[in-house]
């Protein structure tokens, strides 16, 4: 039983055109910048927004298409909304039981199932607490339990971790991963956070301006970005160019030497940690060396990220010690060096 | 020059001072508090008075006699009070707000009012005792209700009203809309209501005649004009206007 969707929605000047398949048990993450159409896709799948064109079907049953539209309340779905949208006047237990009651489960049974779900997300003791008294992490877990309690075929997660602080996020992300692993249905995760997508999803779809620009397993996407946006997300230096053997003429100016020979249009990617900085031109060894100017310096995790203008422009991660040794300041002229073996070249 | 004076009086409003010019002519503003049932006739009389006394300006405050009496007792600035009932005039004389002896300038008597075509077939007071018919009367607290009570006592009829209205106009509204089959109102009201309401006279009416007294206020801002207006209402010309509206002469 596979969920297949051709999502075509036109709203004003924006239009979404996204083909999507999700297998049973699979978690697909839709990753993209704000305004890319992620939420539109999610709302269309939920039935909150009818398609302009296209089709949504789970196995043989059509949810949306030219000849049918199943309203949201009749779709076997569960949605976790960005700010959870827990019903403020209902207790945690009543929130979780809401979907079951709405779908006709008797009150006592609905409460039993809801209580089980609260137990599963570790909130046994909070059954009668109103949402406003729950912490962010607790509210998120109630929202997840509410979405899963009805046993949906499709689980839609809309930025499920965005409202949490960094510390809580780490823990809730891990828990969410466990629940998703147990879940046999289809999951679509919408997020703009690459880490959420990498950790939680089996497959990523990168959405930009209403179109899928890249799709694949997280490791593949992380290693071989195909757009500047993806490269930025996964934190790689990324260039397009034309390869002739081990030399690549970059589209934006500059030239890089690569380890494996290639021909034609290629992408080149390498991590900022692969970049070394020198105050004078270094000599020897097969590496790329070119003059750069410091454009910006900012702390980045345990290292310092240096933005450098030049041909090509490049990001370099250097240790704090290096920053001190070189007495880095914006405007300084330096030499950047990258070993050919540290670059990764792949066809466009 | 006179135009300027009138304008000044208009600007200064109802508290305009008495202004009798050297020749004894009446000028200035006159404020008259008059019962609601006098609205049409007094508006006409006001115009006639202004025409007869160039330089005067008559302003009216029409309302329920009892409400007007209370306003006067509370010091409302007025020159003349024309009441629909001696009782309300007494309220004002009791407090010495009026010291002149009030004079009766008109009389009114009750008539049966029925909707056009008289669907309820009410032709006598006895018809008011029929609980199956919709009947409107004035509340006893207002003059027309007190008068109605009197005629029913005289006629030895116990009426079965469905509503006791706050004033004659409210009763007439219900008759003209056909909501009630019959009502007791003043003869002048039937006349003023036009062709949607028909009047039926009855014998006992003459035994409950309502007198309309008029008097100038003791502290009338324009005492001369106040006296002149009272005289004008009592004059033949005044009586002719009142008579045409259905009022009886005192």
């Amino acid at each position: 039983m596979t969920l297949t969707a051709e999502l075509r929605v036109t709203r004003g000047t924006f239009d979404l055109d996204l083909g999507l398949t999700i297998g049973p048990g699979e978690v697909v993450a839709l990753l993209g910048p704000n305004g890319a159409g992620k939420s539109t896709a999610l709302r269309a799948l939920a039935g909150l927004l009818p398609l302009t064109n296209g089709r949504i079907a789970l196995a043989e049953s059509t949810w949306d298409g030219s000849d049918a539209f199943v309203p949201p309340e009749e779709r076997p779905i569960g949605v976790v909304f960005q700010d959870y949208l827990l019903f403020a006047h209902l207790s945690a237990l009543e929130n979780v039981a809401f979907g079951l009651r709405a779908r006709g489960t008797r009150k006592a049974e609905a409460r039993t199932i809801a209580r089980e779900w609260l137990g599963r997300v570790g909130l046994d003791g909070h059954a009668h607490v109103k949402p406003r008294s729950l912490s962010g992490g607790q509210a998120q877990r109630v929202a997840l339990a509410r979405a899963l309690a009805t046993g949906p075929s499709l689980l839609l997660l809309d930025e499920p971790l965005a409202a949490l602080d960094a510390a809580t996020r780490l823990q809730v992300r891990a828990e969410l991963g466990r629940h998703l692993a147990d879940y046999a249905g289809h999951t679509l995760l919408v997020t703009h956070d690459p880490l959420d997508a990498m950790v939680l999803a089996d497959r990523l779809i990168i959405l930009e301006n209403g179109r899928a620009v890249q799709e694949g397993p997280p490791a593949e996407v992380a290693r071989r970005p195909r757009t500047d946006y993806v490269a930025q997300l996964v934190g790689l230096n990324f260039y397009r160019g034309t390869a002739t053997g081990t030399t690549v003429e970059l589209d934006g100016g500059g030239r890089l030497t690569i380890a494996e020979p290639a021909w034609g249009a290629v992408h080149i990617a390498f991590p900022p940690t692969a970049v070394s900085l020198y105050s004078a031109q270094p000599s020897g060894s097969p590496r790329n060396v070119w003059p750069v100017t410091v454009a910006g310096i900012e702390p980045h995790a345990h290292t310092t990220r240096v933005r450098l203008d030049g041909a090509p422009a490049v990001l370099a991660d250097v240790t704090t010690a290096t920053v001190a040794d070189l007495r880095l300041r914006p405007g300084d002229r330096l030499w950047a060096a990258v070993k050919a073996t540290e670059t990764h070249t792949y066809p466009v | 020059m006179r135009g300027v004076l009138v304008l000044a009086l208009l600007l200064t409003g109802c508290g305009a001072p008495a202004a009798t010019s050297d020749s004894g002519k009446i000028t200035g503003g006159v404020t008259v508090f008059a019962a609601a049932s006098l609205t049409e006739t007094f508006t006409q009389l006001g115009k006639d008075f202004e025409a007869a006394n160039p330089g005067t300006k008559v302003k009216f405050n029409f309302g329920g006699s009892s409400a007007l009496a209370q306003q006067l007792d509370q010091g409302a600035p007025a020159d003349v009070f024309a009441s629909a009932a001696p009782a309300n005039m007494k309220q004002v004389t009791d407090t010495k707000t009026i010291t002149d002896v009030p004079r009766t300038f008109a009389r009114n008597e009750l008539a049966i009012a029925v909707p056009k075509g008289n669907p309820g077939k009410i032709t006598t007071l006895a018809g008011f005792a029929d609980a199956g018919k919709k009947i409107a009367l004035c509340a006893e607290q207002v003059p027309c209700g007190a008068a109605a009570k009197k005629v029913f006592e005289i006629a030895k009829v116990t009426p079965a009203p469905d509503t006791l209205e706050q004033d004659v106009k409210a009763v007439l509204t219900k008759v003209s809309l056909g909501e009630v089959d019959g009502a007791l109102v003043y003869r002048t009201d039937v006349k003023a209501a036009g062709d949607k309401v028909e009047g039926v006279t009855f014998a006992e009416a003459s035994q409950a005649v309502n007198d309309y007294p008029i008097a100038p206020l003791a502290k009338a801002p324009n005492a001369a004009a106040a006296k002149a207006f009272v005289e004008f209402v009592l004059s033949d010309k005044g009586r002719a206007v009142l008579g045409a509206a259905g009022f009886g002469s005192p």
Binding site: H89 | P161, T163, L164
Partner: protein, 265 residues
């Protein structure tokens, strides 16, 4: 001068008019209380007054229930449906607010009266005649008071986040269930506030009531009508009746306030 003092001080430009406003509202009431002939109170509190008071409370409450039953769906329609011409409809809903109540009463007679557009059929087919009945009082009060409820509830609905309704839909709730279990509870404060306004307006209603339902003790004489007629003959009695109505309504509203508005559990 510490920062705390600066922040704690209330600006005179707000406080002065606020105090004047309060005085403007309260001084007339004080005037009533001062003039009340308290000693004659027992003699004036007749069975008829009790009857008028009971009728007032019953009719105002029934009118409020009618307004809730019809007004909440109307507010929902105005706030949530994509109905064309909603702005115009919203303006029409407020007509009873600007219409002089007596005119409203006449309008009701023209429609629901014995010879009215609808009333003539009610009379002919079902033998129902609303004027001069207690039901007529309820109708007149509901007509005048309903805009208060509709405006209040519509405002609350428009301020409420419609995404909660979407969340309910994704959980399988029909629109009716969503309305009952999600929308209505979320706008409850607006509904309560509207109902209180509605009830207060109905309780004080005079013009439309006396015009449409007339005035007959025990059947259609509510307190405001009794007060008005008492004013014609015995101003002292009128003051006492007003004060009784005032005390009862303030008591009821204060009770409701404690229970519903400021005391959420």
């Amino acid at each position: 001068m510490t920062r705390r003092q600066v922040r704690g001080r209330l600006p005179v430009v707000l406080v002065l008019p606020a105090v004047l406003g309060l005085a403007f509202l309260l001084v007339p009431l004080a005037g009533l209380l001062v003039r009340t002939p308290w000693t004659s109170l027992p003699t004036l509190l007749s069975a008829e007054v009790g009857e008028a008071l009971r009728l007032s409370l019953v009719c105002a409450s029934l009118a409020t229930i009618c307004c809730l039953a019809l007004g909440i769906p109307l507010a929902w329609l105005l706030a949530r449906s994509g109905l064309p011409g909603r702005g115009f409809l919203r303006a029409l809903v407020t007509v009873p607010l600007v219409l002089p109540p007596v005119v409203g009463g006449v309008a009701l007679l023209l429609v629901l009266g014995r010879k009215g557009l609808v009333g003539q059929y009610l009379d002919a087919w079902f033998g129902i005649s609303l004027p001069f009945t207690t039901a007529g009082v309820v109708v007149a009060e509901a007509f005048v008071a309903m805009p208060f409820l509709v405006i209040s509830v519509e405002g609350a609905l428009r301020a409420a986040d419609p995404r909660y309704e979407e969340a309910a839909a994704t959980l399988g709730a029909s629109r009716w269930l969503t309305f009952r279990r999600v929308t209505l509870p979320s706008v409850l404060p607006g509904v309560v506030a509207g109902a209180v306004l509605c009830w207060a307006r109905a309780l004080g209603e005079f013009g439309a009531t006396i015009t449409f339902a007339g005035n007959f003790p025990g059947e259609t004489t509510t307190m405001p009508l009794a007060v008005y007629l008492a004013l014609e003959s015995d101003p002292d009695a009128a003051i006492v009746l007003s004060v009784v109505l005032l005390l009862v309504s303030v008591g009821v509203l204060a009770g409701l306030r404690d229970r519903w508005i400021s005391g959420p559990s």
